[in-house]
Amino acid sequence: MNRRTLLAALVGIVIAPLAGAQASTSDEIAKYRAALQDGNPAELWEARGEDLWKQKRGPRAASLERCDLGSGPGVVKGAYAELPRYFADADRVMDLETRLVWCMVQLQGYTEAEAKKNPFGSGSDKRSDLEALTAYIAVESRGVKMNVPLAHSKELEAYRIGEKLFYYRGGTHDFACATCHGEDGKRIRLQELPNLMTAEGAQKAYTTWPAYRVSQGELRTFEWRLHDCFRQQRFPELVFGSDAAIALTMYLARNANGGVFDAPAIKR
């Protein structure tokens, strides 16, 4: 056996157990995730969201029960699985959160600033109404197949912009979404990164948001997830409810079509 073959053989011997260790680590983490499924604190947000949907609030003392999430006024069941979409009354594409802000303004009389005031909650003193409402609307789509429309010209435009944003490299690290989410088998420390460019990866990722994020101790929405990705990429802040956020959501949600919606989930 020559030196090169021997070296290759030795490397093979070292790599094999490491690969085995990695496999068993992800098995153990899968067990951790499975153990968390029973009793998801997201249910507490769902309950509060349902109350907020039905309560008469704001300067007009009205409830949100006439809010049209795309399937008709007040229809909540299945609505999340068809968002984002174009809304004629606003003449723009909206994700769930921007649509909720719209309804809070139109039906309840809040100003847009008031409605958007606290998108990401923190503890019991600084609860976010939008997070609670999102949790409630989301759970009413559990079990429904993703079915985001791509018919209106503005929906197509949003999808294309979202796609551009997904591949756009920038920031101090020259990262794009695709840098971390464009290949199979990538991970950061022990966190496996979903490949969002495959149907399976896209579906698994999108259908599990919103989620109770254990590390946050809060129910977090998809807008939060994108906001946090931008932070981790060292990108400028992704403004809540911005066209950029909606476009990126449109791209990722549409790519998840066919996947069964299964949120709110519970994540690390």
Binding site: D38, G39, N40, P41, E43, L44, G123, S124, Y212, G217
Partner: protein, 103 residues
Amino acid sequence: MGEPMKIRATLTGDATEVKVLMNHEMETGQRKDAQGQTIPAWFIQTIGVTWTGKTVLSAQWGPAVAKNPFLSFKFKGGAKGDTLAVRWVDSRGDQRTDEAIIA
């Protein structure tokens, strides 16, 4: 009065399985806020679960129980339609009682 909890009580054979999700910050008193001030400890200290006047579980907790605590246990007895009550008292003296029907 604390925030409402979610209780699920299901009869399986001759035993009732109880699962509770409580709404509580369970602040350890170890964390500091953005200004560097210690966030004071605030957590559920005692719990009692009763069924037809009988205590089926009681517990004492410290701040190491996770935020928005989950609890699951089983007791012999219970019938569909019976009421189960869960009560907690926290370190501020605040308390919460919620009831559930055994299904």
